[in-house]
Symmetry: C2
Subunit: 344 residues, 2 copies
Amino acid sequence: MADKIFKIALLGFGNAGQAFAKMLLAKEEKIEKVYDTKILVTAIATGSKGNLVKATGVDLVRALDDVEKYGKFKNEDELVSLSTMEIVEQADYDAIAEMTPLNIFTGQPAISHIEGAFTRGKHAITANKGPIAWKYKELKELARQKGVKFFYETTVMDGTPVFNLVEKTLPLAEVTEVSGILNSTTNFILEEMAAGCDYEDIMERGRQLGFVEADPAMDIEGYDAAAKITALLNVLMDADITPDKVDRKGIEDITMADIEEAAAEGKVIKLLCRGYRDESGCVVAKVAPEKVDKGDLLATVNSTTSIVSITTDMMKTVTVVEHEPEIEQTAFGVFGDLMRILGE
Amino acid sequence: MADKIFKIALLGFGNAGQAFAKMLLAKEEKIEKVYDTKILVTAIATGSKGNLVKATGVDLVRALDDVEKYGKFKNEDELVSLSTMEIVEQADYDAIAEMTPLNIFTGQPAISHIEGAFTRGKHAITANKGPIAWKYKELKELARQKGVKFFYETTVMDGTPVFNLVEKTLPLAEVTEVSGILNSTTNFILEEMAAGCDYEDIMERGRQLGFVEADPAMDIEGYDAAAKITALLNVLMDADITPDKVDRKGIEDITMADIEEAAAEGKVIKLLCRGYRDESGCVVAKVAPEKVDKGDLLATVNSTTSIVSITTDMMKTVTVVEHEPEIEQTAFGVFGDLMRILGE
């Protein structure tokens, strides 16, 4: 038996939230062994499946089962009529795991959830890039004041170490440049266009594969990529910018003629994100389609694979690649952040 | 002024040792600020430049200067007639930074240096893969018994996080497979052969560029790669193997005809390292030339760039790339390990 108990409120129980819950169950024994801690999920807040609260821990197996069978929670002992925000403000927990759907233009409601937890002196983990892109500095400062932890590894490239990589494995190194391919939808579309496919067919196939959203503008016009590079630069380069400050160009104007022209030059077009300091020391952020040599590492990043290169004063450039992630990789980012809270 | 003092004995003062010393000087203020610690180098042991010992800290600027000007130490106040091993056994230090030249077939004298430090209850950082390839388990156990730290990030891919990546950023994830391109010399030769260059010209140019050793067999026959994959597997998969257990094949038999045949298939040949568990649960380690598709990430790893892919049960495959490292990247691995000792 573990000596300690750590309580989490799970906000959001979509695919990622469910994968995270399954991971907690699968690793229960190992967590107890390594951290001497039993994890209790004391609340689950959702938009449409109902909300569960139980101070001694909700029945996670039943919750997963009910959602799979009925699409919603059915456990009368645990169901409450509180809203998500009321759960944040009232439930008994040590940390929230924030995985709710995001408005990319405001970072809400994730920001309010995190502020709510911090105000109560609770830790927060978020899988949402919005808070990091729109309000990182304020949230970090609030966490500092309250003496709580704030982790967000999942927000860029899921559980692939990016933020933790710099913080935990490159001590004292100063990040001078960040670049990468961070949006799967555009990456998929460009790849298919290079293979000669028809645009409408690509979009249809992308929707079937789940790469292309019902309204794909968020990806195609580069908003998602802009939010991700903003998150990276805010954390890694202390940039203090918001996504609307990114010099953003999507792939909406890329034609087959552009793709063919690039191919004739031995190149492919990729939607690249970049950030660096200009001469005055300000961080500049860009998202734009660029031609990349076919022999370049970036050219091999296809499908849902993503890549980030981080340049520092001491270690030159280190590149990290995430290969065709599935929902478990999103869940692992949150899981890893939770283990970090337990371990520190 | 820093509240704490941390003393290190620097074993080896070649290019890497000197780069490490310069890094300590350059980051002196930042180390004091972040870790509230002043680093004193209390000994420097070398093969041919003389040995320095001073309990209040050797004059690092002068040591670097003398070596640059005269090829050896000249500071009479600090020069001693102790051997490297005597310094390990007698000097006043908290940790050794082991960067001496290595015998790849025995792991010596690095192993003795590390054992010597541990026996005295001192920490050890090594840049030498030999100890990790030949005697990891025993050394780790000795460090545990003595309650001291043992870090070795530099031994594979310099300061690029590999060991620390798994330990610090992938909590509870179990490594199931490791693969990569880990030897620059063979990578350079294969790349040049693919470009149609003559073998003797390649070797000559490689020697000039410093990629090819006077006796290149260690690289060409895969011994270096075998030691590196062994080090990775011992640490990351608890393999308990030695380099002679690796199923090793170098590039010595690769002909221009092989290269051309691969090219005709849209492939290139790379010397790949692999490790995984067989059906009985034993870790299998292999080094062999393999054909790689030109569109594959691995095919873009050229020159002195190296790559490692780490597969775990929870995060699928994460790949890390080090781009054309210089000596500072070797030094940073040791520097990062030192910061880790200060921070833990």
